[in-house]
């Protein structure tokens, strides 16, 4: 008993404090995930809950995983999701990088105002913002009208349009995703760029580099961890996004989130829905591991710095 008390005194508190987040992850992530994995291997039954193991069916049913690779619905859904998410991520990076860089170059007071503006959209409901875009993209909106006028001005008569069909397309999905996820790109990039020493830019300039070369040789290589962090924060939720494609997407080429939701709620095929969810998670683990490896490297470097 005495040794237990001394052990607790020596290590207990530390282990307890480190243990709390692990416990949280186990209870709220690992166990539910294992339930989903188990469900993905069950067989669909007309009972409640609508799945079961054994009986007339195989104990573990791998049919769902086989369907993933054979049915075009799933293959297409994965490709659409990954493509939309990838395009949205790249556009977020192209728009977000100059914004993040700009934030680091303005005066302190301006910086706070601009950072506030970046975060400001979060103050309204996410759903409301998507609805706003639906209104903007609709055929009778001023926004659509404006774009139509520009289109008609720039193209020959034979291509003239009365309105641009934006809604219910992958274009609409990417546009709204870029709008909604842009802050997730800007903020980690800003956090990264803000830490870079401006003297390094001067040093490169001093050694003969023009501003563009300074950016290419000094700023960009040092901001890779920020780019990866931002890309992960945009790509992962975008790939599994449900609401945006459901509201503005093309119903005939659904994304993964839509498939999972439909399989659960409409088709009531819980094992298949679980299978798709597991597959999506496995797909996302790869990039996440890449990210954490990069972060470890960056942290290791920071620690070794005297």
């Amino acid at each position: 008993m005495k040794s237990l008390a001394s052990w607790f005194h020596r290590r207990g508190w530390r282990d307890l404090i480190i243990g709390i987040p692990y416990l949280w992850l186990i209870v709220f992530f690992l166990i539910p995930f294992l339930i989903v994995v188990a469900m993905s291997l069950a067989t669909r039954t007309p009972t409640a809950p609508p799945f079961g193991y054994g009986g007339a069916n195989p104990i573990l049913n791998f049919e769902g995983y086989a369907r993933l690779f054979t049915e075009t619905l799933y293959i297409r859904a994965f490709i659409t999701s990954l493509m939309n998410a990838a395009v949205a991520t790249v556009i977020c990076l192209i728009i977000g990088y100059p914004m993040a860089l700009g934030l680091t170059r303005v005066s302190k007071s301006w910086r706070n105002i601009l950072l506030m503006l970046v975060i400001l959209p979060f103050w309204t409901s996410f759903l409301l913002r998507v609805y706003a875009w639906m209104g903007m993209m609709g055929r009778n909106s001023w926004f659509n009208g404006l774009l139509t006028d520009i289109w008609n001005l720039l193209t020959p008569q034979s291509y003239a349009l009365t309105s641009i069909p934006m809604m219910n397309s992958n274009f609409a999905v990417v546009l709204v995703m870029v709008y909604c996820y842009l802050p997730f790109m800007i903020l980690p990039l800003y956090a990264n760029l803000e830490r870079l020493d401006p003297v390094l830019d001067e040093a490169a300039m001093d050694l003969g580099s023009r501003p563009f070369q300074v950016f290419r040789d000094v700023t960009l290589p040092q901001s890779i961890p920020g780019i990866i962090a931002g890309a992960m924060l945009v790509f992962i939720p975008a790939a599994g996004e449900l609401v945006i494609p459901a509201l503005v997407g093309n119903p005939s080429s659904p994304m993964i989130g839509r498939i999972i939701s439909d399989e659960f709620a409409q088709v009531r095929d819980w094992p298949m829905a679980s299978t798709v969810a597991v597959a999506l998670l496995i797909l996302m683990v790869g990039p996440t591991m890449l990210y954490s490896r990069y972060q470890q490297k960056a942290e290791g470097r920071a620690e070794e710095r005297p």
């Binding site: 020493d197 003297v199 390094l200 001067e202 040093a203 490169a204 300039m205 001093d206 050694l207 003969g208 580099s209 023009r210 040789d217 000094v218 290589p221 040092q222 470097r301 070794e304 710095r305 005297p306």
Partner: protein, 371 residues
């Protein structure tokens, strides 16, 4: 201000009436300097005196509000930093953290038209110059502070600049490394012949390193000259006080007699002889300044021109030398520095606490300051 001492060689850097204002604040005020080729020139001053701003204007990071800067005969007004024949060694070294030692040194050479083999050879040469050859592949976070400084030096020298600007080159090093690096910098300067402009707040660093020093205060250059001239012949109270220890007292000119001036120093309760300054008039108030090592102390009245009696208030014995603080007749204190050239008798020191002592100094040692 005394006439600026011209460098031995033709002026290589010419700074003509340069001022720099940041809003209402005048960081540099009407500075004119000439720096010779191959010279080690120090800009010395406290923080905020404008020395770093002046250095940054030479590098091209700041534009003068007025005035012109010529380097090797060329007006630098429209030359951006990347086109100047000037490289800088930054105070923080500014080593690129994502590049190896080798890549850091090679960075400036990217912009030179040279073959890959020639470039590699130049990097090798630089690594050897700063004795970092075994560390070529290391990343900056894997080497020590002193080594990082040498990387910064090699990187700045690799492109063979005409001028090397050094911003507080020794400030971040510990005492032992400082002395070593100081001599290393001097030998590298001699071997390469590059003009060095060093910014420092450390007077000892400036005096040992530099051929000539410009003492700056509040954006202005107070005095320019070799170390010994600035130390022995300061032209203002600021310079006298900034470089080395000194005791100053108000005084009044009584009589001008050729080389010597008779002055009344109330703090010492009498009249004394000092070497005259051009332009002095009888009755003028001046400041008399005495370096501690120029004053002798003894328990018997010496046979000297300038003698004053005092009482020892404090003394610090350092072994090879001693520092006394002596109360003058007027109540002021004077510092006296003596070298303990002879072994003291066992009974004690030449003078002790509260002893009555005689102080004396040469007329030539008394520095008269009108500013």
């Amino acid at each position: 201000m005394s006439e600026p001492v011209l460098p031995e060689n033709a002026p290589f850097i010419r700074i003509e009436g340069v001022s720099k204002r940041f809003g209402q604040f005048e960081a540099v005020r009407d500075v004119s300097l000439t720096i010779g080729k191959g010279e080690i020139f120090a800009l010395l001053g406290g923080s905020g005196c404008g020395k770093t701003t002046l250095l940054r204007m030479l590098a091209g990071f700041e534009t003068p509000t007025s005035g012109r800067i010529f380097i090797d005969g060329q007006d630098m007004a429209d030359t951006p930093p990347w086109d100047r024949p000037v490289h800088m060694m930054f105070q923080s070294y500014a080593i690129f953290p994502h590049m190896s030692v080798e890549k850091n040194i090679a960075y400036g050479l990217k912009h030179e038209k040279m073959t890959a083999a020639r470039r590699a050879a130049r990097v090798e040469e630089m690594l050897a110059l700063v004795q970092l050859t075994p560390f070529a592949k290391r990343k900056p976070h894997q080497i020590s502070g002193g080594q990082r400084q040498r990387v910064a030096l090699a990187r700045a020298l690799a492109r063979q600049p005409k001028v090397l600007l050094l911003d507080e080159p020794l400030a971040a090093l510990d005492k032992k490394l400082r002395e070593h690096t100081q001599f290393e910098l001097m030998s590298i300067q001699q071997n390469t012949g590059v003009t060095f402009v060093v910014v420092t707040h450390d007077q000892e660093e400036a005096m040992t390193l530099a051929d000539r020093i410009a003492v700056m205060d509040k954006g202005e250059v107070k005095q320019v000259g070799p170390a010994n001239q600035i130390y022995e012949y300061p032209n203002s109270r600021f310079v006298a006080g900034f470089i080395g220890a000194i005791s100053t007292y108000p005084a009044r000119v009584i009589r001008l007699t050729g080389d010597l001036t008779e002055i009344d120093i109330p703090a010492m309760g009498g009249t004394f002889a000092a070497r005259s300054l051009p332009g002095l008039t009888e009755g003028q108030t001046v400041t008399v300044a005495l370096r501690p090592e120029k004053v002798s102390i003894s328990k018997t009245c010496p046979d000297a021109v300038n003698v004053v009696e005092g009482q020892v208030k404090d003394l610090a014995y350092f072994g090879k030398d001693s520092l006394y603080r002596v109360i003058l007749p007027g109540g002021d204190l004077i510092s006296v520095h003596t070298v303990n050239a002879r072994r003291a008798s066992e009974s004690g020191r030449p003078a002790d606490w509260d002893d009555r002592v005689w102080l004396s100094f040469e007329p030539a040692s008394a520095i008269l300051l009108t500013d």
